[in-house]
Amino acid sequence: MTKALREDTPVPADVPALKLTNISKSFGPVTAVDNVSLEIPRNQVIGLIGENGAGKSTLLKILTGLHEPDSGVMEVAGSPVRFRRPQDAAAAGFGVVHQEQSLLTNLSVAENIAMNALSSKDNATKGGWYRWGQLNREAETILAKVGAKIDPRSIVGDISFVDRQMVEIARALRVDELTNATPIVILDEPTSVLERDETAILEREIKLLKNIGSVVFVPHRLDEVLRICDRIIVMRHGKVVADRPTGDVTEDELFQLMIGHAARASKSHAAERDGAVEPLMQVSGLTRKGEYKNVDLTVRPGHCVAIVGTLGSGRESLVRAMFGAEPFDSGSLSYRGKQLGSWSAAQATRSGIAYVPAERKTEGMVGGMTAAENLVLARTGKSGLLVNKRKQKKLAQEWFGKLDTRPNNPSLHLSRFSGGNQQKVVMAKWLQSETLQLMILDHPLRGLDPGAAETVNDQIRAARDGGTAVILLADTLEEALDMGDDILVMRDGEVTARFDLSVDTPTSLDLLEKMV
């Protein structure tokens, strides 16, 4: 230690603001963060990148006290810490802008900015009493810091998404006014809803932040990370695979590090399948404000369209609209050559469209009913008033065999099955229908082990080869390249690329470039 220590900071300057040693976190069988060790130096901006599901979000949740790690040590300014609640993280100087908006839409901007402080100590709300004048003035000061012209008295629900994001950022900045600790500001894709000039304001602000603390920045686009960050940490499959100074890497290298390998050649597809068949479903100019705009898409029988994109690309919302589960603002849908006026999930189901949602537990199944009952739940065309128990049992047994579902007992409650086997039952529910025309699969392999994933994929292929059209929102780019006949790439609600795999042979890299 050569430099004299400042009296108010009894920590040597070379001690990192944050140090993680062997941090792990699992959710059931899935290890989201796997033995991660890293250091965040003081007064630096660190970029954190990785594919969807690489473990970035879980790591950030650990840093902000929303998840407790299963094992490992966290040190802030040299002393070990444990965050049990978000307040603990806030007290240690962590401020965060989450990917999802975390504002209370019925309260005012000022209240939201003060929120973390409200539950602890703050002059404007000392003793549980609100001093509105002071609260608003404090908020005004912080908003001015981020260059936002927002009235702190306005209700968050009434202001635009861009302004809300500025409020979120202002709120994260508040941390340095509350605690004596060196702030660590975590920005999880803060620019995803911002326009170009607002992004510029944010980049300027992040550089200012460096003077008072450290920043962990998860970029929405890869070029941002190269512009803003001092160092870049790359995660893949829950592990840190690279930690490089920004000057030492190129955008291409980062792509490679993120996906792990040069993309392998995609397997040959059934290009000979008749491309001239009548389209089953046609989407033209479909738009929903804030989700997707002007999307054109054609789905043919016997073809699989894979849609790829990051969170916020709007692809989930798009397919839900196609299934009639969500409204859209403009554009049109046609099905079997007929223009659709009103469209609902019930009509879609009757017309032979199946939807396997990503939220299996909340949308795809009824856990309190037996597997056999779940199998016959969807009303697909044929309607009978009574349930034929014997037929139901026979059907269930047949599908349990086909999909190798374990335990092989259809009369168990579905909630007792493992995730993979639940998914098989959910798939079978639709596959058994004789009127099935189109399957919309939203992350069908999520949470499945490789064996179960292969069984499910085989069923999807079999259905496709039998003439069913498939729309697939894949978990990984490999899955999309493996299953799709056509690939649609979306970014920020717009289609940025289309690949016909019978002609094109894109690599994961090509897709990724269009995604971020």
Binding site: R85, L104, L118, W129, Y130, W132, D151, I155
Partner: protein, 340 residues
Amino acid sequence: MTVGNQVLTASPGETQRTPSRRRFEYKRLGELGALVALILVFTLLNPGAFLTMLNVRTILDQAAIPLVVGVGATLVVLMGSIDLSVEGVMGAAGMTFVLLSANSRDTMDLGLWAIVIAVGLGAFLGLCSGLIHTLLKVPSFIVTLGMWFVGLGLATVLFGTDQIPFLPDGDLKAWPNTLTLGLPNSAWLAAVVVLLGVVVTRFTRLGRFTYAVGNNEEVARSNGIPVGRQKILIFVVAGGCSALAGVLASLRLGAGSATVGIGILFLTIAAVVIGGTSLGGGKGGMMRTTLGVILLTVLNNGLILSGVSSNIQSGVSGAVLIVAILAAAWPLRSRLRIVK
């Protein structure tokens, strides 16, 4: 709604704020308009009977109990929960109050302490509801439905098989209807409670967190709000409000009765909703509930004066509730894809 009610001051953001303010005021006008229309209609139907000082006093006196209950109910509904235990708590607290005051059955006379103990009992029942709701994760609907009958049971046990406990004639019994500055004391009491409610919802952490929890529990929690403690506190306050209303109702009845709160639950929940507080939580406020209570009281009073039979009255009240909910939910109907 605090923010929306603050005085406009010149500030850079004023222009972008105007639309939200206007919408808010406009909605409030609808309910005020309905009230004015009702008053006009009943005045025309009953010239010389409806819009008299005597009848205004009657209306305010009748509104007092639902107003006191409504303050607690509004807080609970703002959180997205519901408190159905109102009538049970009123019965238990009212009976406790009568038995602990000078009455015709026993020699116990704790004076004003009887009120304190009765309100304390209500708060305790609210505490039980809150604890069961948050710790055991039972929906508030079920917990408070149970607590309703626990309260009624408690009141019935206290009532026993002896003769009915009457309050002696005197100052205490006459208090609610005694006039102060031209208005009955019961109305003044209600006004004080409503005022307290307004202050709590606008200027205290307790009140603001209530809105936060009602908006989105998950987000509230991630913002560091102790959601469980908040809910328990609100149920305690609501229990206290119901108990105070029970005391007031017992004073007016002049005797102990387990069913002293009969009919109040529907009236208050209806008033909260008609006032425009969303049953989903997060939107609404005390003044809205006050408006709702006055609206329903005027309606009932006017119907009686106009000679409508009491059988039809309850039907009319129900229909008004449904129409009010329809009107409130109309702009949202396409977005409400799930209605439970």
